[in-house]
Amino acid sequence: MPRWGMVIDLDRCTGCGACEVACKSENNVATVSPAQADMGRAMSWMKVMAVAQGEFPDATLRFVPRPCMHCDNPPCVKVCPVAATYLSPEGIVGQIYPRCIGCRYCANACPYTVKYFNWYAPTWPTAEREHLNPDVSVRPKGVIEKCTFCHHRLQKAREDARAEGRELRESDYQPACAEVCPASAIVFGDLDNVNHRVHALKEDPRATRLMEELGTEPKVYYLTPRA
């Protein structure tokens, strides 16, 4: 059984935001108006957070792309009263939109703040509306949504591999953010598979996870900057 995970090299991340854009269009994430975004209602399953360090003129800007951590001990799954959010056997934390009652308890329980709520029915600019991804269901108003490691791609990859009568390869299943990253900062794969890059990368001395002390066992690792 694979255990899907991600390693993000912060030394490589340029903060270009391609992962954000790829994620939004891959997963039909709704676009909110600027006024709504100012209220704190923008949705971005993958979000590049910027950290300013130092004082001018020695200031630097660091970037931390933040997807869902897909915890092995997910606080959001525990609190859901209707099992609308779940941990799959392969370690992906998913959300069942037709089940979610919109209580937002999971969003409050998540220490990484990666669960997004549909305050209104979703809207898109016309051009985007015409090119929604048919593989990903759009969400109604009033439910929680979140990064899924593009698990619809896993389904398709597995079917393809089965049809071709072979094992699933690392390159078969890559989420949109990892696929598009021009700096190859985002590496994705099976953490338990020695043939996958993430297996070795997660043992790198630079590897760390966000708020490890909470015991949530995140499956997203960060390689801290060298300098």
Binding site: R41, V79, V82, C100, I101, N108, P111, F117, P140
Partner: protein
């Protein structure tokens, strides 16, 4: 009407005073009911707007996921601890002064629970799926524990209100002052025979014991909803007992307000005597001290540990954007009630009314100070600090809920005696002798008796 009035005059004096509100209704009542009804309707309209367009109509955002509705939920369920718990404890401890106040307290409980319980439903993104909590129940979710304990509490306290009212319902039925078939149905064949009375008192005794752990569980579980997350200043073991203490505190305060108003509008001075306000005032005093103790313990633990994420929320409350609600809370929950209730001269109806109002406001602010500052200060330090200000929709629904509850309570006083008639009579006929015998039983036999 004249017929009902003459029937009323034929009753003994206690019953005459206590049943008068069922027969006589002043224009002031209709005026107040009209205003409250209009505000309630306004709240309903606001809710339909929210239902139609989505929770976007609130001021909520990410990560301020919870706001007014959850504050009101904790607040109203807290108020509901007025009745059942206070009345049960006073009954079990044989506090004879309880007789006049238990009924009005139990009514607060039963009527306010519903208004509390709808708050999380108003807060749902998908209220149409609310029954999923039964269909797909997840026992590991504290939210489900809440559904169970509130459901149990509502059931138990409704029975606990109804059963001790049976003899009074029979009195109304027999006096034939109002809707005979309605009261005939509610009285359920109760004839007040010695056998029936003995059985009733036994059941009330058992119920009084049973409702206490249920009531304690209700607010404990509500505290746990917050405490079982990893969020700064929520993740605290004190929350269960702290919430129970706060609930009883706000319950006593709400009951005091109700007593002062009922005493004034229904001329119940003979029943709600200065001694009742004195004793209830002492209870309030004890709880203002308990409140300080619990609050101090909570904040000291957070402060002394000094964890970074905790400290952000801590300072936001004490000296940051939430300093105003925090210090007003301290004034309302501690300084004002302590100052007024520590002196006999201000443990009067007027004094307890001021203290009661202060505590109710203070306890609402306490829930605000629990929900909002933690919500806007996420643990993840890269996440920007959020802002939350309730929208007019949220404030309208809140106003509608408050006025809806007061309206329902007013209407209830028009259908049920708000002071137990039979328990007053029992007090005169039985309790006086019983208490004398009890006190004598504590003492060594008088000299020369043997």
């Amino acid at each position: 009407m004249a017929d009902a009035a003459s029937k009323l005059d034929a009753l003994p004096p206690d019953a005459r005073t206590l049943l008068a509100p069922l027969v006589v209704t002043t224009w002031r009542f209709y005026l107040a009911a009209g205003v409250l009804g209009a505000i309630t309707l306004w709240g309903v309209v606001a809710y339909f707007l929210q239902y139609r367009f989505g929770l976007g109509r609130t001021g909520l955002n990410q990560p301020a996921y919870w706001g007014i509705y959850i504050i009101d939920f904790v607040f109203f369920i807290g108020i509901s601890h007025a009745g059942t718990l206070i009345s049960a404890i006073l009954r079990i401890s044989k506090a004879e002064w309880r007789r006049a106040i238990t009924r009005s307290a139990e009514f607060i409980t039963v009527l306010v629970i519903g208004f509390g319980a709808i708050q999380p439903i108003v807060d749902l993104g998908r209220p149409d799926r609310v029954l999923f909590v039964f269909q797909h129940a997840q026992l590991r979710s504290p939210l489900l524990w809440d559904v169970i304990s509130i459901g149990l509490y509502f059931t138990a306290s409704t029975i606990y209100l109804y059963l001790p009212m049976l003899p009074d319902l029979a009195i109304i039925r027999d006096a034939r002052i109002k809707a005979p078939r309605f009261y005939g149905f509610l009285a359920a064949g109760y004839r007040d025979t010695p056998d029936q009375r003995a059985r009733l008192e036994r059941v009330i005794g058992v119920l009084a014991i049973v409702v206490i752990p249920i009531a304690v569980s209700v607010h404990t579980v509500i505290g746990w909803i917050f405490a079982l997350t990893l969020r700064p200043m929520w993740h605290s073991t004190i929350f269960g007992p702290y919430f129970v203490m706060g609930a009883i505190y706000s319950g006593i305060a709400a009951l005091l307000i109700a007593m002062v108003v009922l005493r004034r509008v229904y001329r119940l001075e003979a029943f709600f005597k200065p001694v009742h306000f004195d004793y209830m005032g002492r209870l309030l005093l004890v709880f203002s001290l308990l409140w300080l103790y619990f609050t101090f313990a909570e904040y000291l633990t957070a402060f002394y540990g000094g964890e970074q994420a905790e400290m952000r929320t801590f300072w936001a409350k004490l000296a940051g954007p939430y300093a105003a609600p925090f210090w007003v809370m301290v004034a309302c929950c501690f300084v004002i009630p302590l100052g007024l209730m520590a002196r006999r001269a201000t443990r009067t109806p007027a004094g307890t009314l001021v203290a009661g109002i202060a505590v109710v406001i203070g306890m609402w602010l306490e829930r605000f100070n629990i929900v909002v500052p933690t919500s806007v200060n996420p643990r993840f330090e890269l996440e920007p600090i959020a802002h939350y200000f309730p929208s007019w929709v949220e404030l309208s629904i809140m106003a509608g809920t408050f006025s809806g509850f007061i309206l329902l309570y007013m209407v209830a006083t028009k259908f049920f005696p708000i002071i137990s008639i039979w328990e007053m009579r029992e007090g005169r006929e039985v309790a006086v002798r019983e208490v004398t015998e009890r006190v004598e039983g504590y003492l060594p036999a008088a000299a020369g008796a043997d």
